[in-house]
Symmetry: C2
Subunit: 205 residues, 2 copies
């Protein structure tokens, strides 16, 4: 069975990999997630994904583990050139959602697959950044307060989860749905195939 | 707790109602699903949804049950004015998918909410039809044969499941994702609200 390492703590990314039948093992990695001065959102998510995958792949390689590639991803919400991260309070979540109300924002996910070098092969990295546009309905403040009270927005970039209660807020999307959830499955399957890892491995299900 | 009856055997529709926190009970209903001569896809799904909801609501009313409204839905895939139903064989599934390869097709879901009349209130029905455009990547025949061999296409209109392995086939969508899965959650929540049934009822989770 071909597999990869997933360097992510997100249960949603695990679920998406399971959906497409790509077997994986988990690896934990810590990187500094601060954006650079003036860094654009698409550069930011691509760089973070690459740093996470690279750091994890080198850890594996140093500890003598077989060099299965490492997948990492980072997702962010952007509007008017502003990056919207996780809300720091319920009030912040309400403000963020009212700012997105009735407008179209971008969700960018950077995906990186990295295989560390060994005596017998060279290092290899592939990175892609996928953007989906999400149109929110115009909200009433009261509706948003009720949504925030469910607690769902607090650990999510842009203060909503499209795969949960937040799906009701979304009028339409243009692009990849799984990209908004946190991992664009078609593009991830394409990257994995370039490392010799097939999707639809039914043993995983 | 406010609830509705769901007249559908689809586990995916149940999952979507759970996602948005609308409590429901199941009711089984049989209607003739043949399209009328020359009936357009959007008329067909709207009519079927209405007939399922109406039939189930009148059954409930006749058996003396409380008149909670009944939700029903029907989803179809259409391209070039042709309605693509469930494939009848693996070969049919391969042909259907190769026909959709590299092109944009429409997925229409009809949603109906029906409350049967009683002495104290009038009948009420609300219907909507939601369309999402789905762009498939250009496929290799071999890739499609491998997908069909997983067995996933056989019980699905258009021979794919976007929420399963079939998600890998989709390049982008324009519109509602849940609509492609089988029930547009925003529009369903809006209809339910008109019958006094709120979404995000956390007791459901």
């Amino acid at each position: 069975m071909q597999f990869l390492y997933l360097a992510s703590r997100s249960p949603r990314r695990r679920e998406l990999l399971r959906q497409v039948g790509i077997p994986f093992r988990l690896i934990d990695v810590e990187v500094d997630e601060s954006p650079l001065e003036g860094e654009a959102a698409i550069d930011y998510v691509g760089r973070l994904a690459r740093e996470k995958a690279q750091t994890a792949a080198r850890q594996l390689s140093a500890s003598g583990w077989e060099s299965a590639p490492v997948l990492a991803a980072d997702t962010t919400v952007a509007l008017d050139g502003r990056i919207l991260g996780k809300p720091v309070s319920a009030e912040d979540a309400v403000n963020m959602l009212m700012y997105l109300s009735g407008r179209k924002h971008a969700v960018h996910t950077g995906v990186a697959l990295f295989r560390a070098g060994k005596a017998d092969r060279v290092e290899k990295v592939e990175i892609c950044v996928v953007t989906t546009h999400v149109c929110f309905a115009p909200f009433e403040q009261q509706e948003i307060e009720r949504y925030v009270a469910t607690g769902e927005p607090m650990d999510k970039a842009g203060a909503y989860g499209i795969q949960g209660y937040g799906g009701v807020l979304v009028e339409r999307i243009e692009g990849s749905y799984s990209n908004v959830v946190g991992l664009p499955i078609r593009e991830t399957a394409t990257l994995a195939a370039r490392f010799g890892i097939a999707c639809w491995q039914t043993e995983n299900n």
